[in-house]
Amino acid sequence: MLSALDDARLSDITSSEASLRRFLHGLPGVDQVGAEARAAMLATRSIKTTAKQFAIDLAISMIDLTTLEGQDTPGKVRALCAKALRPDPSDRSVPRVAAVCVYPDLVATAKEALGAGSDVKVASVATGFPSGRTSLAVKEADTRDAVAAGADEVDMVIDRGAFLAGRYGQVFDEIVAVKQACARAHGANDDGAGAHLKVILETGELATYDNVRRASWLAMLAGADFIKTSTGKVVPAATLPVTLVMLEAVRDFRDAIGRQVGVKPAGGIRTSKDAIRYLVLVNETAGEDWLDPDWFRLGASSLLNDLLMQRQKMLTGRYAGPDYFTLD
């Protein structure tokens, strides 16, 4: 555990590019072989019967049900929202998902479809998703647009080019700026707290676990509410070892700073077995404080139907065919 960082120390770290670099490069390294072995070992946990039922419902409640295609239509988004509110129309006991995740221009549609005051959030990608290759002014405008349309959460991408080139200050400043753009204009919406900011690291482009750990800390220092693995547009997307390293980062960050940050693996999580492995990872790395939709999300789409299928199998003892679960 890093020794506690007080506000003075914190503002010192973030005061200049040089001190940011010193801090990030002073974080303990990640041994690739060891991290992958740990993730692989945890993937052998056998989750059965009551534990499986619990995990399936928890996983459903953590899903950010996502559609991020150029061909998305308002109709598709409305369908997604209906599914989010009632994942299995034949079974009211199925929990709702955490959020729907769409492009900024479809936020208003999603908001309307979910209805005012819905406990299913609307998340919007922004900041020139998925590449992030726009000017800061455009990123800020993109974010303000989404928030003005009612987004409860903003999933931003970091400038991987700047990060990999070592321009940590630039990445930090951008996250801070986008966080500010997440603030709601007065009176525009309910809570005044602004949209929650999820920072997508795009770990598939960061190449090393050391970079994942540094990017995680950088995002958290800049004010991220969540750190998220991937856009889903780059292979590899979320992996267990990457998520392990990020969970260690949020755990250590809370120990040092006292602020809890959420984690969201996204992309490539398709089966219940995959989802349960992530929950095991959370349980045995960051701990049960993170086993909550407020602190852990799964960015996915096809995963939901597999979870529903397994859920029904647990209750009835039989598998139903795919046509018994609705398309979204």
Partner: protein, 480 residues
């Protein structure tokens, strides 16, 4: 359920068929001992009696050695290396096919978690047979001259901590080199060796090439002192190893001894800390600490002591102690009542000598032999828990300031089997490994085994190497 608690996930026992009694495996067949005596093997997790096991006496050991001699003279020494290799490949494949059965039986008899027997022990057993099967027809390139010869009959005595894996370490190179063997498994864990005997039958291995005699220490003594044995291989305690060394002294019998250890696991301030914590856990709590090369002394650099200890303790609270057959168990049962008494005694000594004892909260089952994962801090080199092999889930934590001090403390032990170094600095790994007097030095990992890698000790940890090309040499002699 309001918390994510893992429901029991027991591996089925149905796959193994434990007989009520077992004879000795001599000359390809199971036979009752001459004087008919027997002992019981129990499940250490439940104290349930598993089977009656034959106790081999003088006449039985003699019969086994004679069977091995006949098989050596008439069959095995006349086979080409390629043909010996075929048998070894066949055995390796059968082990893979019957892996689950072997894993379940190993966990029942030994108490180790099924996750380890399934993912570590049995795959390594098969790997050892495959590896040495490949050597059988390539002995002239082993480094023992152009036409190396086997010794003849090998007498092998193995411990209870990795029953089938130690059998593989002994039998695979011996057979590849052209020896025949008489092997004595440990008294508390004979069942997988007896199942291995069935595998030899299934593989049509010529009778007498592998003989298994069960019994306690006396049977082992009869075997290693038998005049018909040309080569002795022993893995076990330093005390017994010394007796064996005395008994073969002045004879033509060759011996290799793999004995105890008190390994230092050294964590520098630039270590990858999360993986180092995993390595500490794996170093001492793997197989309940019943590992001769266990990292039982943790040496932490002073500047990261508090952080490392805090992380380690937090990690230990997530360890799952309990039913060895549960697929989620991390720490199983202590192998025997005797061993449990020894661990308890040394833990009490640790407290009495002034070290601070800590264990995570964990519920231990009522029946069976259990000991919680335990960490001692404030340990000095003079404490018995820093010097004696505990062979249990007990970690002694010491600190150091400089690399030189780390080396000095690590080497300040009568043993020298293994060591671990955790640092991100490659040059320091090399510097340390040149100075650590230990047979194996792991860098940024611990307790990793591979059939291609030699394993063995310095000083009171024994002599000779097992595994790899070096392990083969112990079973070969250059032509006279």
């Amino acid at each position: 359920m309001t918390k994510f608690e893992y429901a029991p996930a027991p591996e089925s026992r149905a796959i193994v068929d434990i007989k009520s009694s077992y004879g000795l495996f001599v000359n390809g067949e199971f036979a009752d001992p001459v004087d008919g005596s027997s002992f019981k093997s129990v499940n250490p997790a439940t104290e349930e009696v598993l089977a009656e096991i034959a106790q081999a006496g003088h006449a039985d050991v003699d019969a086994a050695v004679q069977a091995a001699r006949r098989a050596y003279d008439r069959v095995w020494s006349k086979l080409s290396g390629r043909d010996r290799g075929k048998y070894l490949f066949r055995i390796a494949r059968i082990i893979q096919e019957r892996a689950r059965e072997l894993a379940v039986l190993e966990s029942i008899d030994n108490g180790k978690p099924i996750r380890e027997s399934r993912d570590v022990d049995i795959p390594l057993v098969a790997a050892h047979f495959f590896y040495y099967a490949g050597w059988a027809d390539k002995l002239r390139w082993a480094g023992a001259g152009p036409d190396p010869k086997p010794h003849g009959v090998a007498g092998q005595v193995i411990p209870w901590n990795f029953p089938l894996l130690m059998l593989a370490w002994k039998i695979a190179p011996a057979l590849a080199a052209g020896n025949t063997v008489v092997l004595k498994p440990a008294e508390t864990t004979p069942l997988t060796a007896l199942l291995f005997a069935e595998i030899c039958q299934q593989a049509d291995l010529p009778p007498g090439v592998v003989n298994i005699v069960t019994g306690a220490g006396e049977t082992g003594r009869l075997l290693v002192e038998h005049p018909g044995v040309d080569k002795v291989a022993f893995t076990g305690s330093t005390e017994v190893g010394k007796q064996i060394a005395r008994s073969v002294a002045g004879t033509t019998t060759k011996a290799t001894l793999e004995l105890g250890g008190k390994a230092a696991n050294i964590v520098f301030d630039d270590a990858p800390v999360d993986q180092a914590v995993e390595g500490i856990v794996n170093g001492i709590f793997f197989n309940q600490g019943h590992v001769c090369c266990a990292g039982s002394r943790l040496l932490v650099q002073e500047s990261v002591y508090d952080e490392t200890l805090a992380r380690l303790k937090r990690r230990l609270t997530t360890l799952r102690v309990g039913d060895p057959l549960d697929k989620n168990t991390d720490i199983g049962a202590i192998n025997s009542h005797l061993q449990l008494a020894r661990i308890r005694e040394l833990a009490e000594v640790g407290e009495a000598e002034g070290a601070q004892r800590w264990s995570p909260e964990c519920e231990l089952p009522d029946r069976g032999f259990w000991f919680p994962p335990t960490v001692f801090t404030g340990v000095t080199q003079a404490h018995r828990i820093a010097r004696e092999e505990i062979f249990g889930p007990v970690l002694s934590v010491l600190t150091f300031r400089t690399p030189a001090e780390a080396v000095e403390k690590a080497n300040n032990t009568p043993y020298g089997l293994s060591a671990g170094v955790w640092t991100d600095k490659g040059s320091r790994i090399l510097w340390m490994s040149q100075r650590l007097r230990a047979g194996v030095v792991w860098a940024n990992t611990f307790n990793r085994f591979d059939p291609t890698s030699p394993f063995g000790g310095y000083k009171e940890s024994g002599y000779g190497r097992e595994g790899g090309r070096h392990g083969l040499l112990a079973y070969l002699k250059a032509e006279d």
